[in-house]
Structures are given as structure tokens and as C-alpha cells.
């Protein structure tokens, strides 16, 4: 047996766990070099994971099924982690601060760990049933998950905002960015996520219209994605209603991500509908 996608994806799980740990060390002990190392490790993880995803794609062709690795719960968790790391790295590169890493990379690490170790998640490559054979579906999954990744980062920023509180002085808390900065980053990240989520819902509607002839059927997954969309819509407008700044937005950002989480998992495990990822 040569190297398979599971080998590479398994490696990337550990690399991300390591990166999350390094970012935490970097924040708590304010060690600059550890921060640089954390970024390096994260980039390495992303490269290994990318190779793993591509290899999985190739393997599916060898098995005669040939489809993009975005078709079941395992593959979507892997893709979620990939997007989260990518969104975070772009953010880090743009704001030139590494502290956010301690709040963002754990999402990717947890997603990979869950995908790799949970007995509920099957990691075999499966053929596509007719309903899933659509390019719109690929567009749908990609756009949704970029949105989810952005919301994960925004949730991390929200937690960071709440952790920071009002404290001054020079403890580890005050080494976090200023609240004003976090607030604005959170807003921008949510906006970014909102564009992708909207595109995700729309491409999903186009796909549903092509597969079953209705672009919207109020199935639980659709409804929950609408609820999520509304929560973030409220978050964007809450700025215009007096008093809703900073802390309240941070709380909304966390509630929003809980809603994403429920859309993604809760609906599969607790409710029933067309989207049956993981309900096997």
C-alpha cells in the first residue's frame, strides 16, 4: 500500500492540532517565534490536506466512481476544515496579527478530529447516487462551506471579543487586539460569510430546481439555512439599532455559528429531510 488519502488527511489532523496548540502558546506566553512557527505549521497542514483531498479525488476515479470529494459527511468535514484554515490564513496575512489563530484554528482541528475519529463518520469513498450527480451541487457545497468557514472564524472573533472584555493593563487578555479592531474584523468576516452563504443557498435552490422541480421546499435543512441567514442579517442590521455594538454583536456572531452548526449537524442527526448526509 502506498500513501492514500487517509494517510495524508490523518497527518493533517495532527498537524492542525499541533498548530492550534502552538497558536495558544503564542498567545498565552506572547512568544513571537512560536507564533511564526504556528503559521508555518498551519501552512504545512494546509498543503498536506490539499494533497490529501486531491489524492482522494484521484482515488475515486481509480475506483470508477469519479467525483469531487464533496459528497458525504466525512468529505464535507474535511472540506470545512480546509476552508476554515484558508480563510484564517488570509485574515492573518491581511491583519498581520497571529493571536486570532488561537481562536480560529481549533475549529479546523476539531472538525478534522471528528471526521477522523468518530465512529459515526464513514470515510470510505462512495459512488454518487443520481440526485447528487450535478455540478450545481458542487458549487453549492463549495460556496456553503466557505461561508461556514468564515462564520467559524467570526465566531472565534466573537469569543475573543468576550474574553477580552474591558480589561486594561498588560495580562494575556490585553495582548488581544483592541475591541474596536475585533469588532470591525468580526463585521467584515460576517459580511464575507454572508455573501458565500447567500450564494450557497441560491446554488442549492438552482440544484433543487433541476433535480426535483422546486427551488424551495421548506425541507428542514433549507429552513435552517434560512434561519442562519436571517441571524446574520439581523447581526448586520443590529449595528443600525442603537446600542447594538461590540458585545451584543459578538454574542450574535456566536449564536449565528451555533445555528450554522445545527444546520450542518443537528438537522442530519435530529431532523429528517432530503439532505441525508451522515444519516446512514
Amino acid at each position: 500500500m502506498g500513501i492514500t488519502n487517509s494517510t495524508l488527511l490523518g497527518f493533517s489532523t495532527f498537524i492542525y492540532l499541533g498548530a492550534a496548540f502552538l497558536y495558544l502558546l503564542h498567545w498565552v506566553f506572547r512568544l513571537k517565534k512560536v507564533g511564526v512557527l504556528a503559521t508555518g505549521v498551519t501552512v504545512l497542514g494546509l498543503l498536506v490536506q490539499t494533497a490529501g483531498i486531491l489524492l482522494r479525488w484521484v482515488e475515486s476515479y481509480k475506483m470508477g466512481y469519479g467525483h469531487a470529494p464533496l459528497s458525504n459527511l466525512y468529505e464535507s468535514l474535511v472540506f470545512f476544515a480546509w476552508c476554515t484554515v484558508l480563510v484564517y490564513l488570509v485574515l492573518e496575512w491581511r491583519i498581520k496579527t497571529r493571536v486570532v489563530g488561537a481562536f480560529a484554528t481549533p475549529f479546523a482541528a476539531m472538525s478534522m478530529a471528528y471526521a477522523s475519529f468518530s465512529p459515526r463518520v464513514r470515510d470510505s469513498i462512495e459512488p454518487l447516487i443520481p440526485a447528487l450527480q450535478s455540478n450545481w451541487l458542487i458549487a453549492h457545497v463549495i460556496t456553503c462551506f466557505i461561508g461556514y468557514a468564515a462564520f467559524a472564524v467570526a465566531c472565534g472573533l466573537g469569543i475573543m471579543y468576550l474574553v477580552r472584555g474591558d480589561s486594561k493593563g498588560d495580562g494575556i487578555i490585553s495582548s488581544l487586539p483592541e475591541r474596536r479592531v475585533i469588532d470591525s474584523l468580526m463585521h467584515q468576516t460576517i459580511i464575507f460569510g454572508m455573501i458565500w452563504l447567500s450564494t450557497g443557498i441560491i446554488t442549492g435552490a438552482v440544484w433543487a430546481n433541476q433535480a426535483w422541480g422546486t427551488y424551495w421546499s421548506w425541507d428542514p435543512k433549507e429552513t435552517w439555512s434560512l434561519i442562519t441567514w436571517i441571524v446574520y442579517g439581523v447581526t448586520l442590521h443590529a449595528r443600525f439599532v442603537q446600542g447594538w455594538r461590540g458585545k451584543k454583536i459578538a454574542v450574535l456572531s456566536i449564536i449565528g455559528f451555533l445555528s450554522v452548526f445545527f444546520t450542518y449537524f443537528g438537522v442530519n442527526f435530529l431532523l429528517s429531510g432530503l439532505h441525508s448526509y451522515g444519516s446512514q
Binding site: Y65, E126, P127, I129, P130, A131, Q133, S134, W136, I191, F192, M194, I195, S198, T199, I202, A205, V206, W207, N209, Q210, A211, W212, G213, T214, Y215, W216, W218, P220, T223, W224, L226, I227, I230, V231, G233, V234, H237, A238, F240, V241, V267, L271, S272
Partner: protein, 458 residues
């Protein structure tokens, strides 16, 4: 965009419906109530709810239409209020935006420029008149594509981009209303239903499932659809790989269109779309009867159908079918009552003939062959609102992009004279993407600075 301080309007109706507070309230209400329909199964029979939730909850479910939450009167009311809110709110901002777009960006003096967050000033060592001839064209070139106006004894240059982006907000919010309108058009003028077709059969109508026409009624298509063939394929692991119906459309007896439809690949004709939605395998059995008077009869009969055996006059049919019993097909055949003979039924296995007595005749029955025939289930839809919805969706995405990524940027340069010496002021403003804009202005600053130094004017 800045927060607007919408001065209070005389009309309380307009005031109420233009508030963002109401919008936030409605959005929260919609999100919260939407949860209901994901927790309570929708569209089941009343019996189901009674058994599952008990009489108390059942009453509530019926009164509040929780069995079809998203079409209930109160949910639709919330949606309508939301649409009204959105329309009024956006309409009311119009004058504000118009002012913003019409405001005169060349009507500023040096004092205003100096008060901007991004500004830089050079005091020249010479009177303006001495350098103006060379300075002005130089600055125009550095700034690129600028407008100019005489201003407070000097000249003001302005480069502006993305002013139109203020309309992005309108595109975005109007698109939401457009999507809702599209859905409304679909629900009023749309048709949807089902067709079940045996391979080789055709139909000129479908059975309504909602929209125009009562559920269960026949709706004419105005043309004929024929299913030539249905094909189902499986992967090695047994999961389905492809469902395909080869459809042909006939109009006035002429073939006008044909297409093999699959689950994600429907056929469209005259506004109707046909989707592959389900299928059913119907076995067809080829039987041979040899009657004691010497007659031999061969028939092909689909399972679960009733026929009359000619030559005897008895009714018969297939009650059950097994494609594989020890490697061969088997069918359970029944014969009706005939004169003195009571009804009888027995399993007939291919390769094992049976002899039975009916009235005064002996009939030898054998299965010559069995094959699978298919019945395809199609969904039919006509939705004149779907294009409106797609236009709205496109507008929504474009609106988002404009609102977040297209900044309104203005860069000014004023040259004038103060205390007998020339002065150059550079200033800039952007309503978003401020960091990137600052970089751009810094670059501009450097180029102007270098140019001024080269000429020893500063």
C-alpha cells in the same frame, strides 16, 4: 455608508414601517417561528398529529396550521409585513441617497481638505504664478483623469470613483423583494403535478399536485409526452447509478422534441418541465396455455393485471411475482371461478409446467419467459415566477458585492496661494476599504513629493 438620521416623517404608518427596529424584530420572529416547521413534521394527515401529539397539542396544531407552517396565515402575514417593511424602508432612504450622490464634491475649499483624515500639504518656496504653468499639468497627470474647478483663488482637482456604489444597497434590498414576488407569481400562476407512464405509453395531461387546479385533478398539457424506454443502472455495491427516461414530445401527431431525462437533467417544452422523480418495475410474464381441445394460446401479461383466457372463458391474472427462485422466475397465478370449478391459485416456476382442470377442460400452463418492464414517475412543473426568482438571486449577489467591495473614493488636490507662496494640498476619502485607499494615497503623496523636490519647489 453612514447611519442616516432620518428626520421624523409626518405619516405614522411610514414611520412605523421604515424602522430598522421593526426589521430586526420581524427577522427574529421569522427565524424563531421557522424552527416550528422543522420540528413538527409537515404535511401529514390529521390522524398522525392526533396520535403523535395528543388532543391538546393537536388542537393547537390545527388552529395555527402548524401542519403546514410556512403557508399558514400568520407566517404569510409575517412575510408580507417583512416585504412591506423592506419596501418602505428602502423607499424612504431614496432622498438621502440622492443627496449623497448629487452633492458637489468640487465645492470644497482648502480648509475642508485640511480637516480630512487623509491629507498632506506642501508649502512651495515660490509664488504660485511662477510655477502654475508646469505644476497644474503635472498634478493632473499624477492624479489621472481628474475634474477641475477654480476654487478660492486656486484650482481644485478631483478624482472620483465608485460613486454609483451607493445604489448597491437598493439593488440588494430590492432583490429580496423581487425574490418574494417571484415566489408569489409561482404560487398563483404555477402548475405542478405528476405523470406515471409505462414504457411505450403516452399521455396528454398530468395529475395536479397543487398550484392551479385542485390536487388530484387532470390538467391538460396541450401536447403529448411519450416514454419510449426507462433504464435503471446500479453500482457494484447496489446503490443506484442512473435513472433515465427516454421521452418524446408529440404535437398534432408530429414528433417535436426528444430527450433522455435523468435526475438532474430535465426536459423542457412550452414552459413545462419534466423531471425524473421515481420509477417502478413491473414484471411482464409470457405464458403459454395448451388446452385439452388442442388450442394453444401465447400471451404476454403484466403482473397484477386481469385477463380473460380465450378458448375457455375464465378470468386469470398474476398475483405475485418473484424474479429469482433458484435462479428462475416464478409467478403466482390465479384463475377465477368457472362453472363448477372454484377459484384457484398456484405458483408457476419457469421450466415447471402445471396442469389444471377448469370446468371440463384440462389446461397446461407454462411460463415461457419473464421480463421486467418499467413505469416511470415524472414530475411536471410550470412556474412562470422562477425567472423572477433567479433575477432576484443574481441581484442579491451583485448587490452584496457592490455593497461590500465597491468603495466610493475621492481624491482631491488643491493648489493655491497663501501668504504669497504656493500651496499644494492632497486629501482623500473612501467610504470603505480604507486601508487599501490609504496606501494608494500614500503612493500618490510620494510621487508628488518627488516631483516637487526634483524641481526644488519645496
Amino acid at each position: 455608508m453612514k447611519k442616516t438620521n432620518q428626520s421624523s416623517h409626518g405619516n405614522p404608518f411610514v414611520n412605523f414601517f421604515s424602522s430598522i427596529k421593526l426589521a430586526v424584530f420581524l427577522l427574529i420572529a421569522l427565524a424563531a417561528t421557522s424552527v416550528i416547521g422543522t420540528v413538527i413534521p409537515q404535511g401529514e394527515s390529521f390522524q398522525f398529529y392526533l396520535e403523535r401529539y395528543g388532543p391538546g397539542m393537536y388542537k393547537l396544531i390545527r388552529t395555527l396550521h402548524l401542519y403546514d407552517t410556512y403557508h399558514s396565515w400568520w407566517y404569510v402575514t409575517l412575510l408580507s409585513l417583512f416585504a412591506l417593511n423592506l419596501t418602505v424602508c428602502i423607499g424612504r432612504r431614496l432622498p438621502f441617497t440622492l443627496n449623497l450622490v448629487r452633492r458637489d464634491s468640487l465645492g470644497l475649499g482648502p480648509d475642508k481638505l485640511r480637516r480630512m483624515r487623509i491629507n498632506h500639504q506642501w508649502k512651495l518656496g515660490k509664488p504660485l504664478a511662477e510655477v502654475k504653468g508646469e505644476l497644474l499639468p503635472l498634478l493632473k497627470e499624477v492624479l489621472g483623469g481628474a475634474r477641475e474647478r477654480e476654487q478660492e483663488g486656486g484650482v481644485l482637482l478631483l478624482k472620483e470613483s465608485g460613486k454609483w456604489s451607493y445604489w448597491g444597497i437598493y439593488l440588494l434590498h430590492a432583490s429580496i423583494v423581487i425574490i418574494m414576488l417571484g415566489a408569489l407569481v409561482g404560487s398563483f400562476w404555477g402548475k405542478k403535478g405528476n405523470i406515471v407512464l409505462m414504457e411505450g405509453d403516452s399521455t396528454d395531461h398530468f395529475i395536479s399536485r397543487g398550484g392551479v387546479g385542485k390536487p388530484g385533478s387532470r390538467v391538460p398539457l396541450g401536447f403529448e409526452v411519450k416514454c419510449e424506454r426507462f433504464v435503471v443502472q446500479f453500482y457494484d455495491n447496489g446503490a443506484p447509478k442512473e435513472f433515465r427516461s427516454d421521452l418524446v414530445i408529440y404535437e398534432d401527431g408530429k414528433k417535436v422534441k426528444e430527450k433522455d431525462i435523468r435526475v438532474n437533467d430535465p426536459l423542457e417544452y412550452k414552459g413545462f418541465t419534466f423531471y425524473q422523480s421515481s420509477y417502478q418495475g413491473i414484471p411482464e410474464v409470457l405464458l403459454k396455455f395448451v388446452i385439452s381441445d388442442g388450442q394453444e394460446i401465447n400471451v404476454s401479461i403484466p403482473a397484477y393485471e386481469q385477463r380473460l383466457l380465450k378458448g375457455v372463458g375464465v378470468a386469470y391474472g398474476i398475483m405475485q411475482f418473484m424474479p429469482q427462485i433458484h435462479g428462475v422466475p416464478a409467478a403466482k397465478i390465479w384463475f377465477g371461478q368457472f362453472r363448477g370449478t372454484p377459484p384457484q391459485a398456484f405458483w408457476l416456476v419457469k421450466g415447471h409446467d402445471r396442469e389444471i382442470k377448469i370446468g371440463d377442460k384440462i389446461v397446461k400452463v407454462s411460463m415461457v419467459d419473464a421480463k421486467q418492464k418499467y413505469m416511470t414517475g415524472l414530475q411536471v412543473k410550470k412556474d412562470p415566477g422562477v425567472w423572477i426568482v433567479w433575477v432576484g438571486c443574481l441581484g442579491l449577489i451583485l448587490g452584496f458585492i457592490v455593497v461590500f467591495w465597491i468603495p466610493h473614493r475621492r481624491t482631491w488636490i488643491w493648489i493655491g496661494e497663501e501668504e504669497g507662496k504656493g500651496v499644494v494640498i492632497l486629501a482623500g476619502q473612501a467610504n470603505k476599504g480604507k486601508l487599501a485607499f490609504e496606501e494608494t494615497v500614500k503612493e500618490l503623496n510620494l510621487r508628488i513629493d518627488t516631483a516637487l523636490r526634483e524641481r526644488s519647489w519645496v
